[in-house]
Every structure is written in C-alpha cells, then in structure tokens.
Symmetry: D2
C-alpha cells in the first residue's frame, strides 16, 4: 500500500499567447498530485525564452499568485514528483531547464531509465558535467550532444536510452510529448478552445475543462508547434504498460489506454471474492487504496460493507517528531478503527497490495483489539515478489515480504485468520487488456527488458 | 454540506511534569482538525506560569519542532477554530490568555453565546476593554470581574452567560472543563498513564492512546488539580445536544453521549431508503459528507453502491485565483464524476444536508453531463429552515434554500428527477436518544432558549 | 554605549483620506528605527474603524506591500520598540489596539511609568484583565474605566500616572499627542500639504518631506480632528528632559526642544578635550556612538582624527550561535581595528558613555594588540552611577561600572593609559539648555520624582 | 558611488574534521558582505561528498542554525554575490556544484571572463548543456571536458579563459585557490590552529581570528590537501590589479598586495586637497564612500570636517514602493543633511567617484536647500570614462557621465560651485604600487587585454 510513484506530467500548447497558462497548469497539477507530492514545478515559453518556478512540497505550497503572474506564455509544462531528501533536493525538482547549442530546453520526466548509469558514465567520460542526480538530466545531455535538429536528436536519444519514460520536452517554440516504446507509463492528449493538453492521466483534463482526444502510443513522438500537431513513430517493441497503474497508482476516475481504472479495481475485488470466498459479517476497506476493490468484493459476496477504518486526512505531511508513547501507536495516527461497527464481527479486510507487511500487521492487530472475532485479509493483486526498475519505489527485493515468504507464512506474520491474494490470471481478467501488453514483472520476475545486475542496481539506487 | 463548525478542544492534566505534553496535544488536535481549520493554538502551564503558541492555518502549518520544545508543563489546552478573515485574525485565535487579579488564565471555547452582545456592552460600560472580537473574551472578562475563587467565579459567570459553550479554562495550577447546561456541544473525559484528557470528541483519545472514561454532563464543571478530579453541577436545564453533530460535524468514528455517530448516519440512510424508495441502478455518495448514509441506503435498498464522484484531496486550502474559464468549472475542481460508472445509469445521489443548494445543483448537472439517465437526490436530514445561534455557521436564514422553497421547488432548482429529505421523525429514530434531549431548531425553528432579535443579530454577526 | 532605548513614535492626521498614509508612516518609522529595533506596528483609522499590522523585527522585515495596501485611512500612528523576548512578544508590540465603551482606541507609547505596578494591581483588583505585560496597557485600562469624554478621560489618566510618557492615541476620528509634564521624552509637530505629523524626532519629518512646526510642551495634550488642531495643558511640573537623548539616543541630525544634537555632541567633545587634554597622535572614535564627540575633540586638540575602528554593519541581528573560538573573539565580530593606522601611535579613544565596561575593555585590548603605544579613553559624558526609571534600559545599578568604582579603578579595569570623563558642568555647558530643565539623575541620583523602592523595582522589571 | 561589485570568496582547509567549519565560513562571509549582497552560499566537503546551501539575500537571511548544522566537513568554500533578478536567480547563486567524471566539484568565482561568450558557444557546439547564465559554469565545463588530473585540468582551463578571476575550487579532497595571471581581483591566504583560510580580503581573517600569511600571486594556483599546501605557477602576464578595489570596493581596513586601503584613500584625499585647493568652511563626506578621503582632505587643507550628511542605515534593502510624493524626495530617504551645521557655510563635498551623476546632483541640491553658501565637489579618483569588463558593474559607457562630458559640463549639471577630480598621477601616487601593476582602464580606456567588440558586449551583458 505505501508505494511511492515517480511523477505526473502536464503540458499545454496554447492556440494563442495565454496570460493564464500557468494557472491552468497549476490546476491541472492538482489533479495529478497523487502521482508525486514532494516537489513540483512549471516552465513556460513565450516563444522567445523559457521561465520557470520550482519548489519543494505540494503544488499549493510552492506557487504564489505572484509566481504564476510571472509565468506567461504560449506553452507550458508542469511536473509533480517524489524527490530524494537532503540539501540538494531543489536541484532535482523538475522541469529541468538547460541551455545548449540550440537554445533552451525544459524537460519533465515520468519513469526510470535502466541504463542511465552507463549512459551517464559515458557522458562524463566525454566531458559532460551534471547538476542533478536524476536520470532525466542524462536525457538532456544526450540531446545537447546531438548535432541534429531537435526532433532528430530526440529520436537519436530514444535509440540510446532504455527503460520507462513518458516525457515532455519544451523548446522555445515546440512542445514535444514522448512515450517510451514499451508504453510503461500512461500519457494522453486532450484539447480545449483549440489548445492542446498532454497529461499523465486524463483526470487532469476534467479538472481544467479539456476534452480527451486520444492516448499517445508506445514509441510515439507527438510534436506541437506553429504547424499544429504531428506524430512520429520510429521505435517499436512489445507494449508493457505497468499493471500497477491499475492496481494502485492512477486515480480511480482515470481511463488508461481505453481501460477504466475504477472498473478494473471493482472487477479485481469481485474476482477476489470468487477466488477466496469467506463466511464473514463485514467487508472493510483499507482507505483509500482498498476502497474500490472492497466494493467489488462486497457486491459479489453479498457481505455488507462498512467504513470500519477512518482515515485522518490531516496527518499526512507533518514532520513533528512524536513522543515515544505516541510513536508506539503506529498506524493509529492515520487510521482509526470504528469499534462499534467492528466489535464481535468477522471482518474481510481488503487492500490493493502488501509491500513489506508492517502496516497490514498493525491494522489486523488494531481490528482485533477493537473486538473483531476474525480478520480475513484479501488483497486485490498477486504477491509482489520482485523489485520494479521502471519508476516505482517498491524498495529492494529483500524488503518485499512476498519475496521470501509464502502466503501461509505471511498470514501468520500478519496474524490474520485467512489471507487471499488475487491470482495473476484474476488480475489479468480484471484488466480489459491483453496480458502481453502489460508489465507484470513485479509478480513474476519476467522483466520486459534486461535489467541491471544487483551490484549496479545498488549504485543506481544510491543516486 | 459546506457548513463551518466552530471549534475543537483538547486539554490534558498530566500526572507529572511532562516534557512532551504539547506534542500530545498537537497529535490530539489533528484528530479534531475537522472541527476547525483556520487557526489553532496550544497553551501550557508548568504550575508557575502559562506559555502559548497560536497561529493561522492548519495545526501542521502552525507548530514547528521548536515551538513544541518551548511548551513544557503539567497542564495544557489546545484549540482549533474557524476565525474571521482580515488583519486582526491572529488576535482572535485561541486559547485566549489573559492576566488578572488572580494571575494568568487561558481559555478555549467551542460554541456561541446568545447574550454576548449585551454582556459585552455592560462590561464596556463598566470600564472593560477588549482586545478581540470573540465572545470568549466576554467569558474571561466576567471571571476577571469576580472577586471570588476561580471555581466560584466560573459558576457566577455561568449564571450570566446564555448559549452554547464547551469550555476549557486553565489557571497556573488548575484545568477546568465546562459544558453548558443545555449540553449543546460534546465534551468528554479520557485518561492514560494516570493523566486526564478532555476532548470535544473521543476520537482524539484514540489518536493519543487514551481510554474513554465518560462524557461530561450538561451543566457540569469538572476540575483537575493536585487533589485529582472533582465535579460541580449547579445549573440545570433541558438538555439540547446539537443534532448536527450527528448529521455532519462529528467524525463518524466518534461516540457522543454514548451514541455512535457512524451507526446514526447509517440508520439515517437506511430510514431514508424506506421513506423515499426509488427504482435506480446505483447509489452514489457526495464524498465525504454523504458516505455513511449512502452505505445505509444501499444496504437497505439493495441498490449497489459506486464511487461515482472522486474527491480531489489536494485542492482544499489553495488561494490562487483561477482564470475565468477554470472558475466556471465550479465544483469540478474538487469533485470529478466517474463517467464510465455513471453513464446510462439511474443514480441515487446521497448527501447529509443542503444549505444553499448551489453545490448540489452543480453536482446534479455534472452527473447528467456524464450520462446519468436520472438523478434522484436523497438527503439524510430534514430541510434546514432556520439559522443556528449556537455555534454553527449556517449563514443567514435568507440564504437557506429550504427557508423559502418547498421540496418540489428545490427539486426543480436542482434539476433532479426526484428529491427526498429524511423526516424529522426518521432523523430522531436514527439517533438513539430522546427527542427532548436534542436541539433540532434548524429544522423546526423551536429554539431551546430565547434568541437575539434580527436587528441585534446583525450587529452580533458583524463581529 | 550599548544602551537600549525604548521607542519611537510617528502619527499622521491627513487633511483628506489618503491611500498611501501607511506608506508615509512606514518611511517615517525608518528615520526612527534607531529608537527601537525589535518590533514595530502601524494602525490606521478611516474614521469608521481601526486596522493595524504589527510584527517582530525591523520595519523592513515586518511590512509587505500587501500589508500597507490594506491600511488606508485618514489617520495613522506607528511605533518602533524594544520588546522582551519569548513567546508572548508579539502581543507586546505596539500600537496596542483595544475596544471599549466608546469604540476602538490605538495607543503608542515611548517612556516608562514609575507607578504602573500599583496602578495595574488596583485595576486588576477592580476586575480588569490584561493581555500584555506593558505599562501602556495600564494607560488604556485607565481610559477605558473613565466615563468621561476621551479628552477628559486622558486628563484624568494623566493625573494618575507618573513617569515618562510621550503618547500617541488614536480613536476612530481623533489623533491625540501627549507629552508628560516633565517632558522626559521628545515629541514634535510637523506638517505637509495641510496634513499634520507628530514624531519623536524631527528627522522623521525630513525623511517624509514634512516641515517642522514646533515641539510639544511638557504636559501638553494636542488634539487633531475635523476641527483642526487644538491644545490642552492642565498639568505642570518641573521640566526634566532626559539628557541621554543628547548624549546617545537621538540621531545627530535631530533638534530637540530647539537644541541641535550634533552641536551638543561636538561641544561635549570639545570641552572634553579642554578638561582632559592629552599628548597623543590620533583621535579614534568608537563608531558610531563616539563619532561626533571625536570630531569635537580633534578639532579642539588639533590631534588628527582617523578611522581606527571599522564597524561591520551586517553583523547586527544575526542569531547563529558562533563556535567557542569565534565567540572568544568578542567585539572583533563587530569592530575591526585598522592596524596600519594604529600601530606605534598614542591613541585617544572617544565614546559617549561607559555602562558596564566590558566592551570598552575589549576595545582597549584590541587597540593595544594592534600596536597602539598608548590608549587614552575619553568619555563625552559623566560616569553613570544610577539606574534610569524613565524608559532607558541601563541595567540594574550593580551592573553599572561607575556605581561601585572610582575613575582610577575603572581605568585599571579597562587597562587604559588614562581615562577622562566629561564633567557634569561640561555636559550642561555642551547642551544649550538650563540645567534645571534636564534630568541628569543617571549621573547624580537626584531623580525628578519619587522612584520605586528596590523590592518593587525588581517586580517591575520582571514584567 | 553606487557601483556594484561582483563577489567575495572565502575558503577553509581544516587541519582536521571540523563540526563548526560552516559557522566559521558564515562569520567570515559577514566580513566580505560589502562585496556582494544579493545571494550567498556555502559548500563543504567531508572528503567523501560535497553538501551545500545557497540562497537569495544577505548571509544573515540565508542560513539558519539548522542549515549550518548540516554542513560539517574538512573543507569549505563560501561566496557572496550580486545576482541578476528574476525567477532564475537562485540557480545562479554560488558556490556552483557539479558532478563530472572525477566526482563532485564546487566553484566560487569573483571576476568576469571576457571570452566567456565564445567559450560557451564552443562548448555548446560540442554538446555541453548549461544550467546557469554565469561565466563560472564555463570554467566548470572546461574542467569537466579535460581528461587530465584536476590540477592539470585547471591549468588547461586557465590557458583558455581570459579576463578577471579569483577562484576557489573544491573537490571532495582538495581545495584550490586561483588568481588570474593579471591579478585583477585580490586573494590572500591566512591560517589559524593549523588550518588554512583563503579570502578575497584579509579583513575576513580578523573576523574569524586567523593570521594573514601572504597574498596569492597573479597566475598562481595554490592547492590545499592532505599533503599540505603547494603552489603552481604556469601562466604569467603583466599584473593589472583593479584600481577600484582601492578607490571604492575593498573595506578600508583591508590590505591588498601589501598596500593599505585606508592609507591609499587618505592620501588620495590629501593629494586632492593639493590639486584642487579651495577656500571653504567645512569638509563633508558622502557617507560612507567618501569618509576616508574626506579626512585626508581635511587634514591637509586644515578645513575642519563635519558630519553634514547623516546616512539612514536601515533603508537599504526595502522593496516597498514609496508613494509618488515620497519618491520625489529621492536621496533624502537615505541621506539627511544636518542643517544647523551646513547653513551659511561653504562646503567641500568629498566622494570617491561619480558614475552617472544623478545622486551627486541631488546631494548638491539638498545641501544648498539646507543653506550651504557654496558647494565644492571633490572626487578622490579621476573621471570614469570607460566601462569595466573585469567584474565591476559600472553600467554601459553611454551612462557614464564623464564619457561624454568634460569637467566643466559636469560641474554645471551638478550645479556645484566648483568640481575637482583627482588626477591619474595623483591616484597612482596615492597607491603605493607601480602604475604598470594596476588596471586603470576605466579612467584611460587602455585595457590590459583585448576586450569584446560592442556587438558582442551587448550579448554578453544580456547574460
């Protein structure tokens, strides 16, 4: 459940100079805030030069009225992300804006390159210097090294980089949207009043009043400039959309590559109820990650649903060190059990996934302390057995509880009365998409491309 | 639905000097943050003097590690509130700390006095000067004027003030908790490790690891000092607990005067389903206010429930002026319809109440724009026809849509296919409490005490 | 030298509503910033109500463009002050704004009452409550208690309070300037474009482009309202203007009660050169307090002057804890000796006063370490032997080096080659004013009124 | 007078790991704050990695206790600078920290390269990308491109760059101090407790308790590492130390290349008195730039000196827009004439230089308005006729009043009774250094190296 996604992207190419373009990006980023809550930024181009503002924190904390006033133009790209902590973190915030032989270039990146370490080494050996510790700067450096036109340089760069990348590039007069040839991360196009919008999820279109046009295809380069919109597609490989976008990351009201996230989660819950039926009194979701699957489970099992766990929505980003006594309360600061509802009942506890198992164990204990007669844990995805190399921070493999324990061992560790995971087939069935078009490596270890060896991975993760 | 509550209170009398007492209050206030999000403060006494820190914003924005370090002591009181805007607002934040003949006194207040205007006028005529525009300072002034001991001064004050007040008072060596004789606002006692806690809602006990002991009774004065806990009860009148604590304000996991808020809301939804049945395909809650009643409605009507409206949890406190185009999108910035789920369906839309009707009308339109065949609005409380004078900001009467429209007119204004409000009897039935113990004046106009005339009310609200 | 003054005042009564009145006060307060650097505030009245903004720090740190935008009106008063530290300090910032039977009242105060403790006790015994720990709030409380008109209430108040007070009071439609009957602190009137200005020193008029009109007389009450300017004078006593305004506090370009501060200081230096001549090579001032007297000394003794000590103007308000090694450098963080100039020379070191002697001792040592052959200390005022009770923080008597040491002992403690203080007669001669019109109690112990006994003084200072 | 200098540098190589190394740099930067007041930063290395903190504003505004806590290590470099305004400014703050093939590198730079534009173009053509608009990043890029050891790469870089540069470089285990072969900007070495310090001016040593060791020679590279201190000198050319360091920039208590700044300024004033004698009553300095020369003038001419202009030290960094009326007061916000002193007198007004003449004209008018019978302007340097390309922001040539007006025309524009500039010979005489070792191009146009043509200059200055 507490998995950190990498980033959210939003770009606008306006039909005409737009005084409020940064405001529109600002509101669009709110709709994507769930994809990254540690830093954010907006860059705009007025076709002559690029200005930007970035900061650490939530979108609402970073931008003042005055900051947005300063950002007027015809194009804009915005980004929300998780950054690493420490004094350098602001320099890692995106969009990354660099100057090179053809002028200025702004980059916003969602994903993770698997060969960034080698590429960066090569570039450094050839005299490149870097200001950040992001793989996004490697992309910028590759483009800066090319002597070709921007589009050709982008294609050249895509031939070198391997991994997951949905990208927005902005030069002073062009907005370019790119989705890697595997299509790991979503990216789609919308429009309003003759302006184009590109976003990680279509929910951003709803928030700013734009219409969804279409998804960007894997390996596609879409260019917006004074000549309108044009598409290039040069690299193809097997599609492998990240299954976790459906399981956890994307907002339930998003539709990715024509598949509704909500329907997928509901179906996962419904299939889970068939695969792991249980005689119980109440279905309780772990809010908010288990909400939709719990409805599917309840609707299918005809076991009534109840809000047995209440989430405190204000605790989130506090940094005040609690006293030891408070710290021992653990998950109770964020989740409170509804004792009256739980007491004496046999509970089906539904969540989307288990990563390390610590939180789930605390929740099971909390429900039993509140009088639950039994707690049956149901997970709407299969056991996570392998690390992700394509942009999801699922921790190292040894921390994944399912990488070294079988289901019965996990059940014992959680002290649950029963534990049922959705099967891989069940998960595929819940997503209205061909299995071969999905990356399910975190459940199977069958990665869609060669991944770094362990040694390298360590170095890579260090950055 | 968008009703502003007045305040939340939390007090601790520790069994021994406690370096982390302010930290405990801090985490307790998080659990009460839903009761007031505009300012907050904590005052502590080390039995020699009182220190405090207050600010504008959420609890998490106001206190730094350093602020809490400075607040060590044996007693503490904390407060969250809605304040009026403008340059004076910090001075209105609570706890209010004053110096008078017997030393220092800190006051935290939840509620609203109906005779504050008269009392303040009298005090000013007798030479009092005021620093704030709160009725809480009137209470302080009355106590400062008394020549008696603190407890006797409190009793004397309670004989003069009329209205709603749950109060925490702290002198250098005493913590006093008071609930007005009508018991308008909740207040309860808990304990941990031999320390006492007083809070507006018992959920705060869960968050800080305290046990619930009992509710404070209407008209009761509870004193915590070196002699332990003692109770005084001098004034009695008919109990009239605010029904809106159950309908909207309190957290669903709270239990008020032995009645579970969650159960009450579920039953309200269930009775609503019986009172206003409808042939439909999907029950959709307005999140989060309609969530529990919607479950009750769905469980009773056997119409499946779906998360047809997704709430953006990041939009809340932003102050950036949207462009005109974005502003026209209205409620869409905060709520997004799940089109796939809604399209072609007959929707039962459940919320807890309708105040002015503007938002509800936008939601109905949004659902229809998303393809809903029908939208049947169901409200889990009766029409609000009268203003509240006891601590709830329901706006003036003329703004209340139900004060001047009958149900059919409201239905037309909302453009709903049908509209059903829970009956008063239904509401009473849903709350496991005698009708005579509740204040339901906002639905009936039968106030439990004399209220200010209109002319005065204006002056009063101006402050 | 490092003596803390109490406060600076600035008030404007505009001939017509003035959108930029707060801006004018803001710039005027800059000219008075030397009188108080710990907090500041501005209150304005638009004849209907009073608004204000206060803060901790320098004027430039407290007010934003937006804060000043909010403060429009026809009258305004501003204040700069030294506040006590701690969590309560903002509440002690001025102007103090209170509400009472006749409406709102803003107060700005420069000085110190000697009977505030008794008055406050009496008021508390009669039911008053206080929000601050300032004696200014006692003045507000006395006015609020009066049943008479504002002017009469002010006169009544002046009959009760004893001590030093230059005051600005502002009701919604009147600006009142008051100077205590001893005239301890300066206060003068200026005008521009038909508007009136009142300020602690006339240098504020220069900064905002106003003309000096006249000094306010001791015991005078000047009222500015829609009827123009009127004067009341009800209380008289012996004038006793604080001599330290000339010695140290006031800016050298100020003229107080028709006497130029610069000329006074120059003459003090000149007389000092005659009273304590010395055979030396270079006159060096302790910047900035000794600057003007050093010129007078040099001009008279014909010993050339040199900038032997360079002051670092950026160190001032930093709160970063230095490492032990840096801390040991003491005064060197702020003052750097110009070795080339000092080396091998016999130095006359001129400053305005010695309080505790610590800093002066460090400076003498620093000069000798830089190669000075001799250091002759010359002080342009007599030894400070008694504490001030009228608004100057000269520390308690036992900390005053001259209260318990004779000149020769002090010379030894400073390790100076000679030490000469200006005589009392010399000081009086330097000020073009009758001795009987000055308070020189800090040099003589002959206070112009009864002062609190020691025991009480402690309580008083505690606040 | 209002000339903006570029930067100040401070580096420390500690004899052992030092928890308070950043604190020492912090206090040292205070002593150099006069060299740059718009941004500042500190980077430290603990021999494993480099951490840094930078910000916009004064040193005292940028660093908190916590920021300094985080910066522990064995080496540190700090920087104060003037940055350009706008949203990008933080990225231009120094030290600049980059990653390249040999690890991390921190750079702090004082000066200006004349061929940065060409070098940057070349680098971009070869694939370099830049994050800032500083010429310092060009230096970093050249080093990153080299395949040699750091020292050799630095030498290679110095063979390519032309112009003014005092540099501090820090890798994880080396601190390198460099002064360009012309020695345009000062740089010197000190020590304390076995640790080495490098600073732009030796006054920083006084502030942190270090001893001056020696100046770094033009073209010298000094390396501090675990082997101690070593010196490399590979490039030589004619020395051309910037004369304006003596005239205006450096602190009077600094000694540059063995010449005392104070003595130089005093002599300049003395020679000025001989070159342009005048029959007058009072010498008045424009504070603080004219202070020392005015003493020299007074001592030589025997005309007494007086503080006729009082500077308001608090106005400095305020950004509040004054009202039109206040704005018209111009220089009066910062300087106030002492009327009593000036009235009826013939004034000699001394300043160090005239750039555009606007301020000087306002001062002359202000003195005459205050009653001065005559105002004789004396400038302790020759007329500035040419722009600087080596790190001083003297504006473009057309803005220099002396580039297009002769002395008599300037006198008329200033409305002065007479105007005398120090001759070039007089200036050289005042500085105890050979003429050939100084850059006096701003007075003569004879630049010590080829400078950019006008067209390029524009592009260059745009950056």
């Amino acid at each position: 459940m507490p998995i950190k996604e990498a980033c959210g992207l939003l770009g606008i190419y306006s039909s005409q100079p737009d005084e409020s373009i940064a405001r529109t990006v600002y509101y669009g980023l709110f709709a994507l805030q769930h994809r990254g809550q540690e830093s954010a930024g907006i860059a705009v181009s007025d076709t002559r030069s690029i200005k930007y503002h970035k900061g650490i924190g939530l979108v609402s904390e970073i931008f003042s009225e005055e900051d947005l006033e300063d950002l007027k133009g015809k194009m804009a790209i915005g980004h929300v992300r998780y950054s690493t902590t420490g004094s350098n973190c602001l320099s890692n915030a995106q969009p990354l804006v660099v100057k090179y032989h053809s002028g200025e270039l702004a980059i916003a990146h969602n994903g993770n390159l698997v060969n960034a370490y080698e590429l960066r080494n090569d570039l450094e050996e050839n005299g490149a210097m870097f200001h950040t510790t992001t793989d996004s700067e490697v992309i910028a450096a590759l483009i800066a090294r090319s002597r070709k036109s921007l589009i050709e340089a982008v294609i050249e760069c895509m031939e070198k980089i391997r991994g997951a990348y949905s990208l927005l590039l902005m030069s002073k007069d062009k907005l370019i949207a790119i989705r890697d040839s595997n299509g790991f991360r979503p990216l789609c196009i919308g429009s309003y009043n003759g302006s184009y919008v590109v976003a990680s999820e279509n929910v951003a279109f709803d928030t700013i009043g734009a219409e969804f046009l279409r998804d960007i295809e894997p390996g596609e380069i879409v260019v917006f400039d004074e000549n309108g919109i044009s598409s290039h597609k040069v690299i193809t490989s097997r599609k492998s959309l990240c299954v976790f976008e459906f399981v956890y990351f994307a907002r339930p009201d998003s539709v990715i590559d024509k598949v509704s996230v909500y329907q997928t989660r509901w179906k996962a819950g419904a299939i889970l109820a068939r695969e792991h039926p249980v005689d119980a009194d109440l279905v309780v979701a772990v809010p908010d990650s288990g909400n939709v699957a719990a409805i599917g489970f309840s609707d299918t099992s005809h076991i009534p649903m109840g809000m047995g766990l209440i989430k405190n929505r204000y605790i989130g980003r506090t940094f005040i060190q609690p006293s030891q006594r408070i710290r021992n309360l653990g998950v109770r600061l964020k989740l409170n059990p509804l004792k009256d509802l739980i007491n004496g009942k046999r509970i089906v506890l539904v969540d989307d996934s288990i990563v390390r198992g610590t939180t789930m164990g605390q929740i099971v204990k909390m429900l039993k302390d509140s009088g639950a007669k039994q707690v049956h844990v149901r997970i709407s995805s299969p056991p996570i057995t392998h690390s992700c190399y394509f942009g999801i921070d699922t921790s190292t493999r040894r921390e994944l509880i399912a990488s070294c324990h079988d289901v019965e061992s996990i059940r014992k560790l959680l002290d649950a009365d029963s534990l049922g995971y959705l099967s891989i087939d069940g998960l595929i069935e819940s997503i209205d998409m061909k299995e071969k078009d999905l990356c399910i490596a975190c459940f199977t270890g069958e990665y869609p491309m060669q991944i770094p060896r362990e040694g390298r991975k360590y170095l890579f993760e260090k950055r």
